[in-house]
Subunit: 231 residues, 2 copies
């Protein structure tokens, strides 16, 4: 209705814009790694958390570049979206989008890809197929965290199914990140694909355990934290 529309307009217009003039780079969604022209490896990331961060950054006044793997959710409003499939494509798109003031690497990037991609669909033959060999993908977060063009604030995500805090603490040091947002993505948790998230935010200052929140609220809090850090 018209009244609600007018209210929403003025709420947006009068909302504080702590990231005005800033460029925020966000990655989101899964990556996919082809095995052949039709088959690929991917993961259960829906892109909901990364897209929510991009939307929250835009609402906070930032210019936002969202580098997204294949997702089935709509593009956030007011955000430049760069679509990619593989980790290598995401890596290239992230570095092409620099300079940025802030990077939030929320995508669930494939750690590995098949060592060879078959040019034609691999045919079924008698017996089991040969094992699939893998090579390591570029570590986008670690590369960015140690790059000469490193954004002022770098945030990584750690999707874990066990030893969540220990793994996230190790990542904080190894990746050159200011924050690691750790979440438990074991299937029981329903985080991948779901609308809520239970995160722990690790930084040099320690661990902050957030309550279970809507992914939009996690995004708002994270953007507030980043804005405060930028000063």
């Amino acid at each position: 209705d018209i009244v609600a529309g007018v209210e929403a307009f003025f709420a947006a217009a009068t909302q504080p814009k702590p990231l005005a003039g800033r460029h925020v780079l966000v990655t989101s969604g899964p990556t996919i790694e082809p095995i052949d022209p039709v088959r690929f490896i991917t993961n259960r990331s829906s892109g909901k958390q990364g897209h929510a961060v991009a939307a929250a950054a835009a609402r906070a006044g930032a210019r936002v570049t969202l580098v997204s793997g294949p997702v089935s959710i709509p593009d956030p409003k007011g955000v430049d979206v760069v679509r990619v499939e593989t980790a290598q494509e995401m890596h290239a798109a992230v570095f092409a989008a620099l300079p940025a003031d802030v990077a939030v690497m929320a995508a669930a990037v494939s750690d590995w890809r098949p060592a060879e991609v078959a040019r034609e669909k691999i045919k079924k033959a008698a017996g089991d197929p040969p094992p699939l060999a893998f090579v390591e993908n570029p570590d986008i977060l670690a590369t960015l965290g140690h790059d000469g063009r490193r954004p002022q604030v770098v945030v990584g995500f750690a999707a874990e199914t066990a030893n969540v805090e220990a793994n996230a603490a190790r990542k904080l040091a190894a990746k050159g990140a200011d924050y690691i947002v750790a979440n438990d993505v074991s299937l029981q948790g329903g985080v991948f694909g779901g609308d809520r998230n239970s995160v722990r935010v690790l930084s040099a200052a320690g661990i902050d355990v957030w309550p279970t929140l809507a992914k939009d609220e996690v995004a708002e809090r994270l953007i507030a934290l980043i804005a405060e850090r930028l000063g």
Copy 2:
């Protein structure tokens, strides 16, 4: 508008129902095969062609069971949808849905699955990970085509990127199918995920090359062919 709604209602009401009283079983979409709790192998099938076949069968008056892998398109109207993830789940759901008069196996089922599924997310470690070993999945089409409860009409799909006709002809014989709908799903063709399809329909009578059509039109033609065969 109301006039169009009334017209659509009467068009549907007066449409011939050649499959009235028949049970049509359709599979659609990809299957996914877990590697660990977050990673999996899948393929580029969108489910559009299989879902269109299910919708066309329902419009032709059939009771329709659609066994679908994970897709991001809506359920067709008037169809019972059974959601599955893996080839083994799809196999079980297909046999649980019998008896049927017609089976159209349009899903892009994973030929193989990882020999072992890790209980926790596989951690990145120094060096490349060990190769992934596979085992063969059940061949749903071939099992159904040779089963004692075989539907009267069995239709398989053959998604190929090379030697389309030769591979499809081999499948017709091997799978015990009445028809194989062969299509070229090389990336250049844009069939997987796209709205149009170029198919060749193989049967004991020979090969019928259909023009490039909307997937809905391919579905309508296929249902007409099946209805004629059922007599």
